[in-house]
């Protein structure tokens, strides 16, 4: 494992829910005391169901969501930023180093700008290039890397299919030369036949440009194919972090096991019904006591209702937040 590029230490993002005259106002704990290291040069997956806080975590790292507790640091060897207390000047520099690729390529691109202008905008806004020639050269270079040709640059987004639009979004995110890229559900809106193409592109760009990716997805099978490490989130907490192969070979947390078995298998005889979860994800405004998963956990004990399990090192380079992971491991 390389040194971490982004390191989170008990990071929390809480949103106040109204005000109270007496006593503390209720808060929605979107992210609660998350500790995580994203190794430099890795393709790091973050999975979870809707409402688990995966997008908020990504946004907090980019300082697009407020950090209400804990620490987040970014350290790429050239600079070392504490993201909670980062100043305005440093922030401007950080924006060049950390970028985001959005989910919906139809909503993310302005219909009134040409592809060239869309890709060039970050360069102009951040003042990275001085002359138009310089900007054009940068745009052409990154467009070629994202397999867009010069003729594409003159057109408007409406002329492109979903896959091509996503390539434009990727080019725009990478044009300012970031070291860290968050891809938030970047293939979720694409058809299967196109999705593979974008995933392969992201992987080859990562190798070519030495990027570190935080790949946020709800789709475990996609994550399994592209990521080196995976963190599984449930209700604002990370329940398991592991090297991808280890996680899929031996899921240690009961939630990870349930999530894996819920993926519809291509084999009609493999229904995965044994691990079926009951009920739905509780509201993050009133999360269950103790382990947040205890209301749906198939192997719940009394202790789980009282004590919050913390993410702790297990074996084979994995970490699990479960009191009883060793005892409940099947087989």
């Amino acid at each position: 494992m390389n040194a971490p590029l982004v390191s989170l230490n008990e990071l929390s993002v809480h949103y106040p829910l109204g005000r109270r005259l007496i006593g503390a106002a209720p808060v929605l704990k979107a992210i609660d005391q998350v500790s995580l290291d994203i190794p430099k040069g890795s393709f790091f997956g973050l999975v979870g169901e809707s409402g688990s806080g995966k997008t908020t975590l990504g946004r907090a790292i980019l300082r697009a969501a407020p950090i209400s507790g804990g620490h987040a640091t970014y350290c790429d060897g050239e600079v070392d930023y504490d993201l909670g207390t980062i100043g305005k000047e440093q922030m401007r520099d950080y924006r060049k180093r950390a970028q985001l690729i959005f989910q919906d390529p139809y909503a993310a691109l302005s219909p009134r700008m040409t592809v060239r202008d869309i890709i060039a905008e970050p360069l102009e806004v951040m003042g990275i290039t001085k002359t138009r020639e310089e900007t054009d050269a940068r745009v052409r270079e990154i467009a070629a890397k994202c397999r867009l040709n010069l003729e594409h640059l003159r057109r408007f987004p409406h002329a492109f299919s979903g896959g091509q639009r996503q390539r434009i979004s990727i080019a725009r995110a990478l044009v300012c030369g970031p070291k860290f890229v968050i891809a938030d559900e970047s293939v979720a809106a694409l058809d299967v036949s196109i999705q593979a193409d974008i995933l392969n592109l992201l992987k080859s760009l990562q190798r070519e440009l030495h990027l570190t990716f935080l790949f946020i997805s709800h789709d475990l099978s996609v994550v399994a194919h592209v990521c080196d490490y995976v963190a599984v989130m449930y209700l604002g907490s990370i329940v398991e972090v592991a090297p991808t192969r280890e996680l899929f070979a031996t899921p240690r947390h009961p939630y990870t096991r349930a999530l894996l078995s819920a993926i519809p298998s291509l084999d009609p005889d493999d229904t995965g019904q044994a691990q079926r979860l009951e009920g739905e994800v509780p509201s993050p405004a009133s999360p269950p006591s103790g382990c947040r998963f205890h209301t749906r956990c198939p192997v719940v004990h009394d202790r789980c209702r009282r004590d919050i399990p913390h993410l702790q090192e297990a074996d084979e380079g994995t970490s699990v937040a479960c009191h009883f992971w060793r005892e409940t491991l099947p087989g």
Binding site: Q164, D191, S193, I194, A196, D219, S221, A262, P268
Partner: protein, 336 residues
């Protein structure tokens, strides 16, 4: 399959009149569904899955044109067969819409009226299709809500759609669709908006209900995994044509059409993490530039020049019940 098909679709071609001209959405589609059978219709966006489904109930927009040779025959047991496309008046359609055929949609929040309670919506449609009393309709609705696994059904009956979670809304939708005891259920991407753990619950529920009610289901999805878990037979659509059809095991294990094979290769699979993801080359052509000949030839690596780009392949039997439309299958038998 011995039972007479519930619905038979023959040579259905659906076009839309638009400012840019006549656009073909579905072309020469044939299929049938027997009682108790689940037919999975799988395809990517723009392949014409939803248009096909909506045609069964004539729910497509006003600018729809059905070619004269298109036929949709609905054969409810103990009733005379009904030619759906010959029904012109809205009030005749009630026999089909919600009567013989019910539909559940992808986004249940958008399908329920936001300002009317779930219960009132269920009662309204029940009374529309029968001369049931309000009280009886209420009883049946609560019973159905209970049956689809909504706890405290009597209380939930009086609530609004926004008070339900996503999975519960989809269950309520299923309860509503089944309360009129339809012979055919059309499920258009019913689990796409749901999380995987909830999707698994809804799939289990639908399987139980097929076993219990014995209706036929047309299950539309883009997810081959969901198809494998729910359908008996599958039809793969691409650009408005069914390119391959057969029993679900057979099609997934021995896909014959290059498009089906491409889809399966592009799909990230959990049982083999080392398999490279192979995208299907190129993009789906715009409906305005529909390729002549085989619709897939622009993206097919086995396309034969002078053949695939000019002639439309006929359905060729791979094994009994498994058909694909591809010249590559008949290559050896071609004289020319």
């Amino acid at each position: 399959m011995t039972a007479a098909p519930l619905i038979t679709v023959r040579d259905m071609t659906v076009r839309f009149r638009t400012d840019e001209g006549l656009i073909t959405a579905v072309e020469n589609v044939d299929f049938e569904i027997a009682p108790g059978e689940v037919l999975g219709l799988v395809g990517e966006s723009g392949s014409g899955k939803s248009v096909t489904a909506k045609a069964l109930m004539q729910l497509n927009a006003k600018n729809t044109v059905y070619d004269p040779e298109s036929h949709i025959m609905l054969q409810v047991p103990d009733q005379p067969p009904l030619d759906v496309l010959s029904l012109k008046r809205e009030r005749d359609m009630i026999l089909v819409r919600g009567g013989a055929i019910s539909m559940i949609f992808q986004e249940p929040m958008a399908s329920f009226a936001p300002a009317i309670t779930i219960g009132d919506q269920m009662v309204e449609q029940l009374r529309l299709h029968s001369d049931m009393s309000r009280k009886r309709a209420r009883e049946i609705s609560i019973e159905m809500l209970d049956r689809v696994g909504i706890s405290d059904a009597a209380k939930r009956f009086a609530q609004y759609a926004f008070e339900f979670s996503g999975g519960m809304r989809q269950r309520a939708m299923i309860a509503m669709a089944l309360s009129t005891k339809p012979k055919l259920l059309i499920a258009d991407e019913p689990t796409t908006a749901l999380d995987v753990t909830i999707q698994a619950q809804v799939i289990d529920l639908m399987k139980d209900l097929v076993a219990e009610f014995g209706m036929g289901i047309l299950f539309i999805t883009h997810d081959l995994g969901v198809i494998a878990q729910t359908a008996d037979r599958v039809a793969v659509m691409y650009l408005g044509r069914i390119v391959e059809t057969g029993p679900v095991r057979e099609v997934i294990k021995n896909p014959a059409h290059p498009y089906t094979q491409g889809l399966l290769h592009a799909l990230p699979r959990l049982d083999d993490l080392d398999a490279p993801l192979v995208p299907v080359a190129g993009d789906i052509p715009s409906p305005l530039e529909r390729p002549p000949g085989c619709v897939f030839h622009t993206r097919c690596d086995r396309a034969i020049a002078g053949m695939c780009d000019t002639r439309t392949p006929e359905a060729t039997t791979v094994v009994e019940g498994h058909e694909a439309r591809c010249f590559d299958l008949t290559k050896g038998q071609e004289v020319a």
